[in-house]
Every structure is written in C-alpha cells, then in structure tokens.
C-alpha cells in the first residue's frame, strides 16, 4: 500500500514540483524586491529605466508589480517622486527620501544578518 502511494506520488512529480518551486521562488523574490528597488533608487530613475536596471541585475520585475510597489513605498514616505520633461516626454522620476535611506540601511543590515545565518546553515 505504502509503495503504491509513493509510486503514484513519483509518477507526476514534474509538474507539481515545478509549480511548487515556482511559487516558493516567487515568494522568496517578493521579499527581496523591496530591498532591490530601494537599493536601485539610491540613484534617481524613472519607471522604465528602473525596470531595466533591475532586469539587467537579474531582478526582472513586470510593470504591474513595480509601479504599485513604487506607489506603496512613496505613500510610506520612503520615496519621493516628481514629474519632469525629458526627451520631450513627461516622466516620473523616483529617488530615495531621507526616511528611505534610513530604512534601506536597516533592511540591508537585516538582510546581511539573514544571509550569514543561512550561510551558516547551508
């Protein structure tokens, strides 16, 4: 009986495991995205260049996630933004606020702590 159950379990591991991996991977990435966005915004960016920068550094993010996140961070006072004309087009530029800089510092310390703890476990 036990063998049959195990057999059935291992008959379809591909899709199940892949889906599970994808969910866990997204969860892991979601936690790091705020940190990545805050870190990238030490330098001023508008949405598209920020998305490109993050993508080039291996933290690809779609606009449906990035822009609502930027709004949330701004509403918490961690970012400041302004609309400015560049190349004859209106763009919204974001950068870290003073509170954002402080928050980034704290989060980086936390992240480094987690990183070294994990390294100790692995």
């Amino acid at each position: 009986m036990w063998r049959t159950v195990c057999g059935v379990h291992y008959m379809t591991p591909g899709t199940d495991n892949h889906e599970l991996f994808e969910n866990l991977r997204l969860e892991l990435r979601r936690g790091s995205l705020v940190l990545a966005v805050l870190a990238a915004l030490r330098k001023e960016h508008y949405g598209y260049t920020l998305r490109k920068t993050l993508g080039e550094r291996g933290m690809a993010i779609d606009e449906g996630t990035l822009y609502p996140l930027l709004r949330r961070l701004e509403s918490h006072g961690l970012l400041v933004s302004e609309w400015r004309e560049e190349d004859k087009r209106n763009k919204r530029f974001y950068k870290l606020s003073a509170d954002g800089k402080e928050m980034l510092k704290q989060l980086l310390t936390e992240w480094q702590g987690i990183n070294s703890s994990l390294n100790g476990l692995l």
Partner: protein, 350 residues
C-alpha cells in the same frame, strides 16, 4: 488612436478616477520607452503585430488595472465568488440596479400615497427586501460566471479593437456612443454568456409575473392588475427573448460572426419598437382590480401617466438606437469583421 493608446485607455477605464491620470501617464511612458528601445535594437520601427505582441505580454488590461487599485475587496463563500478584479464593477452594477429599482418602487409608493391608499410599513419593507433579494441574486450570479470565465481564460482579450472601451465600464452616457462606434472583431464570450444568463432570468421572471403580478406591482397588486395588453404582448416578448438567447448561443460558438449580431441587433430593436408601439396604443397599462374602489381610480390614473412617459421615452431611445446601428452598418464595409477576425484568431491561436 494607436494600439498603445487603446491599451492604456482600456486600463484607465478600470481604474478609480483619483489614480487614473497618474497611473496612465506612467504606464504610457513605460510602454513607449520599451517600444523605442526595441526599435533601436532592431534599427527599424516596430510593426503593428510586434507592438501588439509587446502589449499582450503586459497582460489583460483589467487584471493589470486591478493590481494598481488599493481596493482589494472580494466576495467569498468558501471559495472566491467575485474577486478583487471584478468587485468594483460588481458594486457599480449592483448600486445602479438597486438605485433604479428603488426609484421605481418609490414612484409607485408615492403614487399610492398621493391617491390616498393606505400603506403599511410591512408592505414597504417586504417590497424592498424582495427587490433587494432578486437584484442581489441575479447580479451576483452573472458576476460569479464572469469571474469563473476570467479565471479560466485570463488571456482571452484583444489589443486590437479595444479602442479604450471596456464592456464592464458602466459610465453609461460615455459608453453608449463609444460602444456603437467601436470596431469589434469578435463578440466577447463574456458578453454571450451574460446575455444567455440575463435572458434566461428575464424569461423566468416574465413567466412568474403572469401568475404573480406582485413581482411587478408590489403590494399594489392587492388592488391593481395588469391591463390586457401585457398578456397580448407576452408571447412576442418571450419569442424575442428566446431569439436573443439563440443569437447569443450562436455567437458563443462563432464569436467572429460580428456582422450577424449587428443585423440581428437591428432586427430585435425594430421588433421591440413595434411592440412598444402597440403597448403605447393600448392607452392603459394598469387597471383597478376592483372596479368599485374610488381611491384606486386616482392611483390607476397616476401610474398610467408614469407608464406613458416611460414608454414614450423607451420608444424614442429605441428609435435613435436603431438609426445609429443602421448608419454604422451602412458605413462599415461588408466583410470587414469576418476576415479580420479570422486572421486575428489565427495569429492568437484561439
């Protein structure tokens, strides 16, 4: 209007007004920057198909807009019935329907009160609760079906032909002319399913009204009855509703038969106008249930007057709609929809 504008406007329609300009300005800029980047990379302008491909990657505008909204309320009973994507539209439709229904109920009760009829608190509460129950059930059922469809087929949408209009946008004064003017390539399956459900509910309701006039007259059914004209036009109306169900089923199977729907729409609207003409000609739409009651005569008179205004308004509206539909059919080159649709479907692999 180019494809980017169409897409961005479709997102805008699903956003709250306070957020709209801000989000749209930024989204539009993001899309145009991406297009520029691709053009630099390729050394040539993007074709319409390539632009469409980029927009499709961004996903269904309705789902994208939902991610920007702060309102993430939903309705769940065990499983999710209406999710955060459709919830604001659900509330809009429900508020509109309930508002309209309670307005009609208020007019009827005012007419009864003015004519000196005695109205009990119980009558008012029971009528309001009944209407609330009917509206809540029907609207929730339709939205639950749409939600299921959306969850099952999130990618079933078209960049081309959106022209910034959303079928779920209920900004009626803006939406009606826009809907008539748009270049639809396919009849949405959402629309077909919604029409089948709505017509089936309407058929059931019409059948019950025959036996229980209280469904339309409320407590006034105790001393009022429907005039014979309603019984005379019952079968034509049922036939038209049944034909509309048949049409929706055909369009469910063949969504590319857009022109068929357009001709059919003119036919149904014209037939409806014919029915309204006979109803107006009847001159009386409600009668006193007991001919001896003196106060009832005044009530009957007031309600019939209200009916006359409503019917004339309906006739004028139908006439204008027929005219617009006919003009649109004449202006649109024959075969435009059919061939374009097949091509679009083939490309999208639907």
């Amino acid at each position: 209007m180019d494809l980017v504008d169409s897409y961005v406007n479709a997102v805008a329609k699903a956003l709250p007004e306070a957020q709209r300009d801000d989000v749209i300005g930024e989204l539009s800029e993001d899309i145009r920057s991406e297009i520029e980047d691709k053009q630099k990379e390729l050394g040539r302008p993007l074709t319409e198909e390539e632009q469409e491909g980029l927009l499709r990657q961004r996903g269904n505008p309705l789902l994208l807009a939902a991610r920007y909204r702060q309102d993430q309320r939903s309705i769940a009973f065990g499983g999710q019935i209406i999710g955060p994507v459709l919830f604001p539209f659900y509330i809009k439709v429900l508020s509109f329907n309930l508002g309209l229904t309670f307005l009609v109920v208020a007019i009827i009760f005012t007419a009864l009160a003015v004519s000196g009829q005695k109205l009990g608190f119980h009558d008012i509460v029971s009528t309001c609760l009944l209407q609330l129950f009917i509206q809540l059930s029907v609207v929730t059922l339709i939205f639950a079906l749409v939600e299921r469809n959306l969850a099952k087929h999130p990618d079933r949408w078209h960049v081309k032909g959106m022209s910034g209009k959303f079928r779920l946008d209920l900004n009626i004064e803006k939406d009606i002319p826009l809907r008539l003017g748009r270049n639809i390539r396919e009849v949405s399956r959402f629309e077909s399913v919604s029409i089948i459900v709505a017509c089936a509910v309407a058929l059931a309701w019409m059948t019950e009204v025959q036996n229980f006039p209280v469904l339309i007259l409320g407590p006034a059914a105790a001393f009022l009855k429907l005039a014979p004209i309603w019984y005379q036009i019952y079968f034509p109306i049922v036939a038209l509703t049944a034909l509309e169900i048949v049409r929706a089923i055909i369009n469910l199977v063949r969504p590319d038969w857009v022109r068929f729907r357009a001709y059919y729409g003119v036919f149904v609207q014209a037939a409806g106008l014919g029915i309204v003409y006979f109803v107006i000609k009847a001159g009386r739409w409600v009668e006193a249930a007991n001919s001896g009651a003196g106060g009832t005569a005044r009530t009957v008179e007031i309600i019939n007057q209200c009916f006359l205004y409503a019917l004339v308004g309906t006739a004028v509206f139908s006439g204008v709609m027929i005219l617009i539909r006919v003009v649109r059919l004449v202006r649109q080159p024959h075969g435009q929809h059919g061939s374009a649709s097949v091509g679009a479907r083939a490309k999208e692999g639907n």
